[in-house]
């Protein structure tokens, strides 16, 4: 009978264990930065009315095309309107449009995709054919087409962006539902006799939502870009409303004399896009890590 040697917790030198774990900043730096900038922008836009030194629609023809300075942090445009105030108010408008025009397609697409995936059969075939058809048109072309029917304007833009944007969500949700449908817990629920609605809402939905949120994060940037593009082309929001796309469009003629009229609203768009992208990628990464 031999005595096994019992060795105390090892005193062999181990490598820096702490050094092997990436810091929180490395793992979630993008998310934090994006969230920070986004929070600032959101606050600025919500309180646009209080933060704007001037009324965004107020013209002052004796003060046109001023360089950015103390009085007017972003300068004035060809009508003497304060650009900073307009940019702030435009932030409110564009962010709201961006959010809603992702929310509506998300709801519409998820419901239709869920129905298609869950019930299969005829519903699936019909819905997916519709999705395929809608996907066949370039996004912007479809939006423009719908606006052509309804006439340019803010409401038309909402409708157009929603109708053009839902199909991707439907695809994602349908694909996820098809996978989850076969999962054990769903089969168990069916065996227990739970109704379709209950199964869909309480069992399938939570598992299917994550990829749609990840997609929505990219989508919102695209939607804001589309909104500004449409307004730039004269097909969306109408002047004199303060909207980034319109501001740049109106500034086209003055580009050599008053560059800030084009550059600054553009930079605002880029900043918002960046913040949303960083935040979105960060959220996606976080969701994926949670498994």
């Amino acid at each position: 009978m031999t005595e096994a040697a019992i060795v105390a917790p090892s005193d062999r030198p181990r490598p820096e264990l702490a050094a092997m774990r990436p810091s929180v900043w490395r793992r979630h730096g993008g998310l934090i930065t994006g969230a920070g900038i986004l929070a600032l922008i959101l606050l600025a836009s919500i309180f646009a009315n209080y933060l704007s030194p001037y009324d965004p629609l107020q013209q002052n023809l004796r003060n046109t095309m001023q360089l950015p300075g103390w009085d007017h942090p972003f300068g004035t445009d060809n009508f003497g309107r304060d650009i900073f105030s307009r940019v702030l108010h435009a932030a409110k408008l564009d962010l709201m449009i961006g959010f809603l025009c992702v929310l509506f397609p998300w709801i519409l697409g998820s419901v239709l995709g869920g129905i298609a995936g869950y019930f299969g059969g005829i519903a699936d075939t019909i819905i997916m054919r519709v999705v395929d058809t809608f996907s066949a048109f370039p996004f912007l072309v479809m939006v423009i087409g719908i606006i052509a029917i309804l006439g340019p304007g803010l409401i038309s833009m909402y409708i157009a962006l929603t109708l053009a944007g839902w199909s991707m969500y439907a695809r994602i949700v349908r694909a996820e539902v098809l996978v989850v449908k076969k999962a054990e817990y769903v089969l168990a629920a069916r065996a227990l006799g739970f109704g379709h609605g209950r199964i869909m809402f309480r069992h399938i939905l939570p598992n299917v939502i994550t990829p749609t949120i990840i997609f929505a994060m990219t989508d919102i940037v695209l939607v804001i870009l589309s909104t500004t593009s449409l307004s730039f082309l004269g097909l969306g929001v109408r002047p004199p409303t303060a909207e980034w796309g319109i501001m740049i469009s109106e500034a086209r003629g003055f580009i050599l004399t008053a560059w800030w009229m084009v550059t600054l609203p553009g930079l605002a768009i880029v900043l918002v896009g960046l913040a949303l992208s960083l935040f979105g990628d960060g959220v996606a990464k976080w969701l994926r890590e949670r498994g």
Partner: protein, 333 residues
Amino acid sequence: MPILDVQHLTTQIPTARGILTVVDDVSFAVEAGECFGLVGESGSGKSMTVKSILGLVPAPGRVTGGAVIHDGTDLTRLPQKAMNRIRGSAIAAIVQDAASALNPVLRIGHQVAEAMLEHGIARTRAEARARVIDLMAKVGIPAPGARIDDYPHQFSGGMCQRVVIAAALSCNPGLILADEPTTALDVTIQDQILKLLVALQQDLGLSLILVTHDMGVVAQTCQRVAVMYAGQIVEMVATPELFRQPRHPYTMGLLNCVPRIDGPETARLTPIPGAPPDLAHPPAGCRFHPRCPLATDACRAGRPALTEVAPGHFSRCIRQDALTADMWEAAHV
């Protein structure tokens, strides 16, 4: 002089949950021409051990301690370029899912020949082609001359595994690491492949490290075997002795899980209660104690080392002399 001497190998992976020690102080030696088995459940660290030997631990994991001595050099200290010269030529690998291991867009012939061309064993395409046909015949692929230009999707699972074996043999390695080579195959094919491996090993005088969770495979092919649990080797001995007199509760538990054709008809299979530990926060003391019917306070403190409890027979259990044939069944009553 063993062909591979693994000394106190430790591999760790940092994760969000903590640092996983997937290979913990693993030591064993493989002699030339020997077939050595590494057996354990999923998550026991056997695959990671193989990856650590090959220097292919997936990032962010790393080998953090110990040495792997091969032909006088410590493989764990070699830079990737030097390691590349050894991989595929002196030490080759066979993987679990052969069908996925083959690139679907490349022809079989190319995939078997790659290593030869990379390591200079074959200088020209023609030379490589001839050798490939030879190898394919050796592993039992019918009509190799015709099938050499086929794509992987045209082969069955068993045939794919033969192709993988052919690729592994291409540079005449001294050591082959086989990670569950038969797990993904049908039972009848499993048997064929195993027999092929044993025959090749004996014909060519190779050493083979065979990783598996199947005790039956071990019994059929390996001269010596090490049982792994939670990243550690808990028992190591010549195969017949392992089955005749296991000296670790875990090994006994594993053996009890296998149905016996010579046992009474109504004998029950007794599973090991509980689940393998979280490698980020393993239990203090002996890793197996939470599930062990023989656990005492001494088992819960300190770190039992692998000691030679009988000639050539190593165990990590300090209570191995209290092991009895029916202790697992008794524990369940």
